[in-house]
Amino acid sequence: MTIKLMQGNEAIAMGSLAAGCRFYAGYPITPSTEVAEIMSRELPRVGGKFIQMEDEIASMAAIIGGSVGGLKSMTATSGPGFSLMQENIGYAAMAEIPCVVVNVQRLGPSTGQPTAASQGDVMQARWGTHGDHQIIVLSPISVAQSFELAVKAFNFSEKYRTPVILLTDEIIGHMREPIELPDFDTVEKVERVVTDSPADYKAFRNEPGDVPPMASFGLGYRYHITGLFHDEVGFPTQRLDEIDPWLERVNRKIENNTDDILLYQKDYQPGARTAILSYGATARTARHAMKQLRAKGQKVSLFTAQTLWPFPEKAVEELADSVERIIVPEMNMGQLALEVERMAGRKKVVRVNRANGEMVTPDMILEAAEN
């Protein structure tokens, strides 16, 4: 273990390498470019591969191809590039191909403000591609967590055969903090294991267990992968008795494992009537505001989410039961607040929003809390 001072983006690169990422394909875009630059430098040193593709559509396609070929694969981008990746993110969800997509959010829509922070892609990360699908979205609040969640992102992607979005922002990405870097060999990694013989192998089997083992190409398991609805061996199908079990399984594989996937911290005060729920850079403001409120003698509970999707429904419902109102500060016009409202029942949800590239300030939260 060593202690280093580094940026959030650098910590993401390090966490990805520690998790066993061996392929990066990407297209430069502020404020994510450092991830690409570091990976281009470090991957050849560990026997990995880096390529700068012709655009983000190609980058997303290439990492799926790399993953099918057996390499843990990632890309990193920001809003405009994330929009371009959506069709192939849906492909990865449909074909159940593990991969990690980092989105260092910047102010949008469109080219927006490339160097300004935002949390404007929370809904896009969930629903950006067409069609119903499950996805895992993780959001770090610090440099140390950028490392930890990069590792988690790779492990979840392999464990659940799904694309994972690491949704960070310009502030966390460019901020420098000291972090304790573990020895990469000691980092827990999920690897692909296939025990079936090629003759018995069904890449998309529905039983037993909800995550069929993933066989990489070229290992003797010759099978078909498609973005069309498919049967258990991967052939296109229009039969409802094949489509329905697949749909149920791919939903179950995420929904039944929320104990593992949902990451959040609770700092609750008994008797508190107000709670603050936040994530990403805004969680740092929220913590600051909480301290000030408590110093003034006001009881307040704090909920910090790292897993944004699937949304921690039960935990937020319980929180809503215990307080009168939940303040949701966000650097957007109110996106995760919609989910909080859905879970809050008749309790009040107070939105504190800023979507101009500036951070939500502690004062904005204090004002909401003191009203």
Binding site: T2, K4, M6, E10, A11, M14, L17, A18, F23, A25, E42, P44, R45, G47, K49, I51, M53, E54, D55, I57, A58, S59, A61, A62, I63, I64, G65, G66, S67, V68, G69, G70, L71, S73, E87, N88, Y91, I179, L181, F184, S216, F217, G218, L219, G220, Y221, R222, Y223, H224, I225, T226, G227, L228, V233, F235, P236
Partner: protein, 308 residues
């Protein structure tokens, strides 16, 4: 063609649409089709795409490649449905992106033979950018483009290879855009093997595909085909057999073409069949391999991550 790909009469109707085992044994080519896949194919009867499938199998077989070591990566379209029937590692991707998926796969598995199978719309319209960049990198992928001058799957819309003045459902008054010459584009962009033939000449396709797959770098084979169902109908070009005949009559071998006078060449309207371009240039994944070696040699001791 010497062998048929599939006749519905070969199907055992009692077992649904999965052909009997002995049907697959009836020819060397058929053995490389998937024994658990339902047939017949989705293609209209008489479509030229099946001919290209036969050629591709024979080409792979002639090289003595292990099926486990071959991956077919396809985009979206009638052409791109080809791999699902074939017993290799097969990846059916998104429209236009076959080469980008294939690039990632080739980088992960430089030892594998990767063939990207695309229609003309797939490769030249939505996938045009990936096409020129894959060629520029000279990455070891064989691009197989079945050019039927139309968007077959979606019902006959204009494609970037639809000839001038010909009709399509989205060019009801005739096409006003000049078509892309696929082979010229590949050569100019950096491909190191470029060849073209037609589905009337499957033995040529067999040969060119085998040469393309043996080439280390980026290869293009343009298989000129037809779509009697859409393009043929809209333009009143007759049956599949009629359109086949045109491929025969309206094409010329490269060697015959080379013997033409300058003037004759200038006014030539026939499709030139042959190996149109070759070049020696290092292949991308091999170059990356030497980069990795260089990085290792120059590193005095292993990197301590996060030192900067």
């Amino acid at each position: 063609m010497s062998e048929h790909i599939l006749s519905v009469h070969d199907l055992d109707v009692n077992e649904g649409q999965i052909p009997r085992e002995d049907w697959f044994e009836s020819s060397d080519t058929l053995q490389h089709l998937r024994k658990n896949k339902r047939f017949p194919t989705i293609w209209c009867s008489g479509c030229g795409i099946g001919v290209v499938m036969g050629s591709l199998i024979r080409a792979i077989e002639s090289l003595g490649l292990e099926n486990n070591n071959v991956a077919l990566v396809a985009g979206i379209g009638c052409t791109a449905r080809m791999p699902v029937y074939m017993d290799y590692n097969t990846l059916h991707t998104t429209h236009g992106r076959a080469l980008a998926f294939a690039t990632g796969l080739k980088i992960a598995r430089p030892d594998m033979k990767i063939i990207a199978i695309m229609g003309d719309g797939d490769a030249m319209a939505i996938g045009g950018n990936h096409f020129i960049h894959a060629a520029r990198r000279n990455i070891g992928i064989t691009a197989l483009v079945v050019n039927n001058s139309i968007y077959g799957m979606t019902g006959g819309q204009q494609s970037p290879t639809t000839p001038l003045d010909m009709r399509a459902t989205t060019a009801p008054y005739g096409n006003i855009e000049p078509p892309f010459p696929i082979c010229d584009l590949a050569s100019a962009a950096g491909a190191t093997y470029v060849a073209r033939s037609t589905v009337y000449h499957p033995l040529e396709l067999d040969k060119y595909l085998a040469q393309a797959i043996s080439n280390d770098g980026f290869s293009l084979v343009e298989a000129v085909s037809y779509c009697h169902t859409t393009y043929g109908r809209i333009n009143k070009l007759g049956s599949a057999a009629d359109m086949m005949r045109v491929l025969k009559e309206n094409s010329i071998s490269k060697s015959a073409y080379d013997k033409l006078s300058d003037e004759e060449r200038e006014f030539n309207t026939k499709t030139v069949r042959g190996v149109l371009h070759t070049k020696k240039r290092p292949e991308y994944t091999k170059v990356y391999g030497t980069l990795v070696d260089r990085v290792h040699e120059e590193a005095i001791k292993p990197r301590n991550y996060g030192g900067h």
